[in-house]
Amino acid sequence: MDEERVKRMVNRERNARKESERLLEQKSSELYEINQNLEQLVTERTEKLTTALNNANIAMKTKDDFVSNMSHEIRTPLNAIMGFVEVMQSSEYEEEAFSNYLNIINDSSETLLKIINDILDFSKLQSGQFKISPIDVNLRDKLQHVYSLFSKIATEKEVSFLINFSNDFPKLLVVDDIRITQIVSNFVSNALKFTPKNGTVSIQVLYEHERSTLILKVIDTGIGIKKEAQATIFNSFEQEDRTVTREYGGTGLGLAIAKQLVELMSGEVIFKSIPQKGSVFGFEMPLTVAIEKKQLKSNKKRNLVSFTGTILVAEDNEVNILLISIVLEQLFVSFEVVENGLLAISAVKNNNYALVLMDNQMPKMSGKDATLEIRKFNKKIPIVALSANALKTEKEEFLEVGMNDVLSKPINKTELLEILEKYK
C-alpha cells in the first residue's frame, strides 16, 4: 500500500473522530440548554401552580366567608324570631308592644325566607336543575306590579321612583314572567337599597321589534360600585366588600342568581357603574311577541258564598286580623274588626251583624266573658270562637258560655266557608 494512501486514510479517520467529538460536544451543550430550559420551565410551572393554589385558597376563603356571613344572616332573623316569641310567652306584654313584636317576627321571617329561597335558587342553578317555563304573558302588567310593590319603600326612603315603557311595547310576550319578576325585583331592591334620599331609581323597559329583544334597565343615582369591585360583582358569594355586607345585609347571591337567570333565558346582563354617581343594572333578552288569542271569558268559579250581611271580627292579633281579612275579602264578605271584648259587646249592641268571629285571648275582656255579656241581650246572633289551640275541653268551654261553633286558627278558608254556609 502506498504511503500517501495510508496518510489519507489515517487523516480521514482522525477527521471523522474529531467531527464525532465536535458533534458530541454540541449534543452536550444542547442537552445542557434543554436542561436549563427545563429548569426554567419547572420554575415557571411552579409559579403558576402556586398562583393557582393561591387562587383556589382565595376561592375557598370566599366560600368560607360566604358561609360564615350566611350563617350570620340566617341567625340574625332567627334570633329575633325566637327572642320575641320567648318574650311574648313569658312576660306580660302590653298591647302595643305585642303587635310591634309580631311585626318584627314577621319581617324577620320574610328575611329568612328570602335568604333560604336565594340559597335554594342558587344551588338549583348551580346544579342545572333550574327550569324556565315561558308562557304568553302581559309583561307590562307584571312589571307594573313589581313597581307598585317597591313604591312604598321608595316613598319611605324619599327616593323618586319611575317606570317607563317604550311606546309600542307588546301586549303579550312569551316569557317566564316569574323569573323576569325575580330578576327585576333584585335589581330594583338593590337600587333602592343603595340610593340615598332625594335620589332617583327608574326602570326603563324597551322592546326592539326589529331584533325581537327586550331591553330592561334599572338606573339609579346611588352610591355606585368601586372600580375594583365591578369585575366580580356578579360572582356568587361576593358583595362589594365586607363593609357593604355589614351595612346593607344580604346574601350576596342576588346578583349571581339574576345573572344566571338572564343567561339561562339566553339573555345578557347590562351593567355600568360610576362610583358616587350611580349604577345601571339590566339585561337584553331575545323574546318573541305572542299572538293574542281571542279567548272567551271563562266564568271562573269564584268561591262566592251566598252569605249576606256583615261579620264582626273580634281579634287583637294583627297577623290574624290580616289573615281573616284576606280570606273574607276573597269571599266578598263584608266585615268589621274590633280589638277587644268590651268593644265587641258595644259593637253588637249598636249594629246588626250576621255573625261574630270571636277570639278568646284579648286584652281588656276575653272572648268568653264578652259572649256571656252578649248573650244577656242577644240570644240569636251566631258567635263562633277563634281558637288557637283546638283542645276538646276548650271547645266545650266555648259552647258552655253560649258560643255556637269553634274555628281553629290559623283560619282555613274551607272551614270558614262551612261556617258561613251554616249561618247564612
Partner: protein
C-alpha cells in the same frame, strides 16, 4: 441525510471492493470534511448521490443494483442501532410498522432525518402492498432494505417493485 447511511456505505464498499477503491472514489470528490463522515452527523443527500455515481463509474455496477445491495446490508445495521424499535418478528407486520411506528420514532430521535412515506394499499397474512413515496427516489434502497429484512428473520419474500407513477413506486411484498 443521516451520517450512518454514509458510514455504513463506506464499510460495505471496503468490505466488497477494498479500501483502495473507496479511497479512489473519495479522492475524486469534493465532500464535507473531505468525506470524513460520522454516524451521528447529518450531511447533504447530494453527497450520497455523488459517491454512488463515482462508485458506479469505478465498478460499472448499475446504481440501482448498488442501492439494492446496500439496502440489504443496511437493514441489519439499522436494526442493531435501535433494536428496541423491532416489536415483531413477522416480516410483513414489521414492514407495516416501519411506516406506523419505526420511522416515527426515528424522526423523534433525529429531528433532522428525512424519511420516506409508505401509503399502505392492502395487507393480509400473505402479502403487503404499499406505495413508496419520497422525494429522494430511493425505492431501490427500499427494495434492498426489505430483502435485508427477509434475510434477517429468515422469512423468504417475493418483492415486486412497480415503475414510478404519479403517486410513487408501488410495492407488492408476498410470502413464499
Amino acid at each position: 441525510m443521516r451520517g450512518i447511511i454514509f458510514t455504513e456505505l463506506y464499510e460495505l464498499v471496503e468490505e466488497k471492493f477494498g479500501y483502495e477503491l473507496l479511497d479512489d472514489v473519495l479522492l475524486d470528490l469534493e465532500l464535507t470534511n473531505d468525506g470524513a463522515y460520522t454516524a451521528t452527523g447529518n450531511y447533504p443527500f447530494s453527497e450520497l448521490l455523488d459517491i454512488l455515481i463515482k462508485l458506479h463509474e469505478h465498478t460499472k455496477i448499475p446504481i440501482e443494483d448498488l442501492l439494492e445491495v446496500f439496502g440489504e446490508y443496511l437493514f441489519t445495521r439499522l436494526l442493531n442501532m435501535h433494536p428496541e424499535l423491532a416489536k415483531t418478528e413477522n416480516v410483513l407486520e414489521f414492514l407495516e410498522q416501519v411506516e406506523t411506528y419505526i420511522h416515527i420514532e426515528v424522526k423523534k430521535l433525529y429531528p433532522d432525518a428525512e424519511l420516506p412515506k409508505f401509503n399502505i394499499v392492502s395487507k393480509d397474512e400473505k402479502s403487503f402492498k404499499f406505495y413508496y413515496i419520497s422525494s429522494k427516489k430511493l425505492h431501490h434502497l427500499a427494495k434492498g432494505l426489505i430483502q435485508g429484512l427477509s434475510n434477517h428473520y429468515k422469512q423468504p419474500l417475493e418483492i415486486k417493485m412497480g415503475l414510478e407513477d404519479k403517486i410513487g413506486v408501488f410495492f407488492e411484498v408476498t410470502r413464499i
